[in-house]
């Protein structure tokens, strides 16, 4: 999916969290958005996912404006969001958590499901198989039958990723997926993201850990105080003096 943000702004109580931000992510690109604390990364993330509405500006998925759509309708347009906090469904198993997402976008619809029509049963089998594949990719296959809230926190975040993948997204939004992970977990995550990128999935990755994104991303957008201060390949961005200044403070 081609993601375009045009002049997006959002203020909180008179303070611009994101101000006139534009960026274009080409289909199949892995874009990282970095910036110091308070740069507006999470706000921009929410403006794209639909958790927040923009005060001004446009968000386009494959050319269609979506900035007025609520989050669930953006999800149905092919966006999957993975939050930094572990937002999983308690009271359901790990497998059910992953399947809920796919159900909301199933073709056969709720009526077929309620009547248990053959189309629904076929969907159900397909979804279950797809869900197990997603759980295997994220290393959760052995936990499929466990209650989601029993998982350690790191695994709950993997579960969010599995849930997002099971919805077969065309754009994957990841909010600081590496934060709080141990080195080995971080390596596994990097491998998974690289694999998804190789399959042609468009990915937008918001990350605090600069080293983590610099070796993964095709292009990097740098935010500071709600504005884009630099954009380019990791090597280009690293060389820009304003990026160094934003991270280290003015010299």
């Amino acid at each position: 999916m081609r993601l375009v943000v045009e002049g997006a702004s959002r203020a909180f109580g008179g303070v611009w969290a994101v101000r006139d931000v534009s960026l274009t992510v080409e289909p199949g690109e892995l874009r990282a958005v970095i910036g110091p604390n308070g740069a507006g990364k999470s706000t921009l993330f929410a403006l794209i996912g639909g958790q927040l509405a923009a005060d001004h500006g446009r968000v386009r998925f494959d050319g269609d404006p979506v900035e007025r759509l609520p989050a669930h309708r953006r999800a149905r347009r092919g966006v999957s969001v993975v939050f930094q906090a572990a937002r999983v469904f308690h009271g359901m198993t790990v497998l059910e958590n992953v399947m809920v997402g796919a159900h909301a976008t199933t073709r056969s619809g709720f009526l077929a499901a309620a009547l248990r029509l053959p189309a629904h049963r076929r969907d159900e089998r397909e979804i279950r198989t797809a869900a197990m594949v997603c759980l295997e990719r994220t290393g959760l296959a052995d936990w499929a039958g466990r209650a989601a809230e029993e998982l350690p926190l790191g695994r709950q975040r993997s579960l969010q990723l599995a849930r997002a993948l099971c919805a077969r997204p065309r754009l994957l939004l990841l909010d600081e997926p590496a934060s709080g992970l141990r080195a080995a977990e971080r390596e596994r995550l990097a491998g998974l993201i690289t694999g998804l990128r190789a399959e042609g999935l468009t990915i937008l990755l918001v990350e605090h850990d600069v080293a983590f994104v610099m070796r993964l991303a095709d292009r990097v957008t740098v935010l500071d105080l709600g504005r884009v201060i630099a954009e380019g390949t990791p090597a280009e961005v690293r060389a820009r003096p304003e990026v160094v200044a934003a991270y280290l403070g003015p010299s």
Partner: protein, 283 residues
Amino acid sequence: MSDLVGYLLTGLGIGSGFALVASGLVAIHRVTRVVNFAQGAFAVLAAMLTSTLLAAGLPHGLAEVGGVALGAAAGLLTGLIVLGPRRDSPGTTPGTALIVTLGLGVLAYAIEVLIWGDQPRSFPGVPGVAEIASARVPAHYLLIIGVAAPVFLLMALFFARTDLGKALSACASNRYAARVVGIDVRRMGLLAFALGGALGGLAGVLTTPVQQVTFDSDVTLIVNGFAAAVLGGLTRPVVALGGGLLLGVTQTLAAGYGGGAYQVEVALVLMLTVMIVQAARAR
């Protein structure tokens, strides 16, 4: 002994009504976080319409279904007002929504008095008296239990087994995440309100033949239903069911062995005790 069996069965019948109201409260609160004080009005509206339909010559069964349908429609309407008319509106805060439902409950009084007057109404239920273990119980109480029990079973299956039920549970668990996976949280909220309306309506339709109904019968229902629901913190359907049955039995026993005048007080004391204990534990 036969007295006790009789009181227990009668209590379970009355308690089933409370449990239905409580389940409606819990269904709505879990999905929308709204405490719906219009819940009792659904029961009254359903019972009133059923009495009219029966008087107009509709057969039993059909008339009751009509009443429950009105309850569901009233629930849906309440949901539309409480959650806001716009598709993407941020919604009313739960605190404000509670006041709105209170207001709607009072508005329902006016509508009910306008249409049906302020006199008690009733309609015949299952006639006769059943004898179980040498206890004599009006047969209608058995019908109440016989209808409510499978309804609770179906609800449990609905929430645990169907996609729609799971989507509702997902909203109850984490609204943020539910939206992210493409679930329309507002629509699920409206569905919960309609379901709550139907459950309230069923309670009114089932209990009216043994209790009569007036426009302000909702007070008894909501006090008892809320007392039952609050046992499980308004979020646990099974506890609400147990609470409703317990309240029904307790009140019937209190009336049978003590005095009949203290039924609502039993519910209020129970509710206060639970709330005080929970508040103390939360600290």
